[in-house]
């Protein structure tokens, strides 16, 4: 592969990556700008961070988002993992259909999922708020975990479980002592991905959040529609920092279970 090696591919990769990072850099830089303007640099300042930290509605929205992400990820992790394990073990005719339908939430456009949830929940007369948000988010978190765990199970040696059973372990015991530890890395990375998707979601949340409850992305979205303020720059930078921390944690975890 040594022949005709040019610098061109490297330059191309660099340029596209620069395109990807360009807007992020500007958001971060202008969050420290000492002026309301987002065109001219007026010196370093932390005033927008001050304004941000005094805005309680943003903190409330952040709290809602985190709570929502954690609950729906946990629920999805339990349902998805059990489902993936079960689907691998049993053979029944509707297996393919079940798999297809359970990955539907990430196959159809988000807008449709959001709109059908809105219509469906109002028919069930569920009050719009945290409960509806959790159900909706769990629905699109499950596929990520299901697919990750399924991929992991496919590469697993069934002899390990059989050995445990032969040695007298009950199926429940086998699940907790053998299967679960083996699929745990997949559960974790699926859950991380799902959590990120939950924290990122605007389209579905905006349909089911109800009039009084804001998640952080919904809050940012509505503020952005009213115009550009440097507080959003600051908020975005803070969110960026948080994402980096979560991402770093995930990297560490992936390393911990370095089977990938």
């Amino acid at each position: 592969m040594k022949r005709n090696r040019t610098k061109l591919p490297g330059i191309y990769l660099g340029l596209v990556l620069a395109f990807i990072y360009l807007p992020i850099v500007f958001v971060v830089v202008f969050s420290f700008n000492g002026s309301r303007s987002t065109a001219v640099w007026k010196g370093f300042s932390l005033e927008w961070y001050q304004a941000l930290f005094q805005d309680t509605s943003i903190w409330e929205a952040l709290g809602n988002s985190l709570l929502l992400g954690v609950i729906s990820c946990l629920a999805a992790a339990v349902i998805g993992t059990l489902g993936a394990v079960g689907l691998m073990k049993v053979e029944f005719r509707s297996k393919g259909v079940t798999e297809y339908i359970s990955t539907l939430p990430i196959m159809i456009p988000e807008i449709i999922l959001g709109m059908v949830f809105m219509a469906f929940f109002s028919v069930l007369s569920l009050p719009f708020g945290m409960v509806t948000l959790v159900i909706a988010h769990t629905a699109f978190c499950i596929p990520y975990i299901l697919m990750m765990v399924k991929a992991r199970m496919a590469g697993m040696d069934p002899a390990l479980e059989e050995a445990a059973m032969d040695l007298g372990a009950t199926p429940v015991r086998t699940f907790f002592d053998v299967t679960l530890p083996l699929v745990m890395p997949a559960v974790m990375s699926g859950a991380m991905l799902a959590f990120a998707m939950s924290l990122d979601d605007v389209v579905i949340s905006i349909f089911v959040n109800g009039p009084r409850l804001n998640t952080l992305p919904v809050k940012v979205y509505t503020q952005m529609k009213f115009g550009v303020t440097p507080e959003i720059n600051a908020l975005c930078t803070v969110m960026l920092a948080v994402t980096l921390v979560i991402w770093g944690l995930k990297k560490l975890m992936d390393k911990g279970g370095n089977m990938r």
């Binding site: 990072y21 049993v90 939430p105 807008i111 059908v116 990122d200």
Partner: protein, 299 residues
Amino acid sequence: MEQRPECTGGSGGQEMRKKKDLWSFTVVPLYVFTIVFVVGPLLYMIALSFATNREGYGVDWIFTLENYKRILDPVYLDTFLQSLKLAFTSTLSIMLLGYPFGYFMAKLSSRWKSRVMMFLMLPFWINSLIRLYGWIVILQTKGVLNGSLMRLGIIDEPLKMLYSYPSVLLGMIYTLLPFMILSVYSSAEKLDWSLVEAARDLGADAVQAFCSVTLKMTLPGLLSGMILTFIPSMGLFFIADILGGNKIVLVGSLIQDQMTRGSDWPFAAALAVVLTLLTTLIIYLYRRITHTSELEGLY
């Protein structure tokens, strides 16, 4: 729908059978959740699309095809066509930008591969709104780009770049590009490069070798990338909203509008059914062409 594995009455007490039955219970939560909260709402959407909208608020359960007929109304048909046009344009641009990226990336040394992957995935984890917001900062009338261009003396008057079709297109490309790159990469990475060399040794020139081997082998990734960009680009109404002002109306924006302000749910449902059918058709075609059941590089 509920199809449990039959417990064949044979009281032989076959141990394997019993164990399998127990395992099948672990699927139950997934089953129940999926039926109640995925199949249920989708069926309801279909039913709703044939119902009659009541003046004001609510629905009358009288069968009608009026909602579907309304889609053919030039105003709404235009929206559909505009959405499709945008989706095609953005998918094509993303393909042209993303394919070389995924291809070159797969040719890197494994050390650089993981570095580039890291740089690629990092923004992926950042809230997509934030990344779009960065473009507002750059593109707005008093924004970075106009400021720089004016200071360089290239333009005298600030250009109106934000709230236009190109800026929506830019937003789509920007948001969806990583999906294409990852799909192409995951299939280019599996490519056996010795096949390309074999083609070259047998006398094919670089272009021929690329077309007959590389492109063919990476087609599943390319197609799956196209699906992963085409489908969302019809529904991502917030991109059109933020970067397009209210000038660009997509099917997604239309559905959202009908659900909230317009409060014509049956019509919104009909739009959604058509969009879902379109999506399903695209995925079905993908499966027929590539003979695979899962999208390449989806996770």
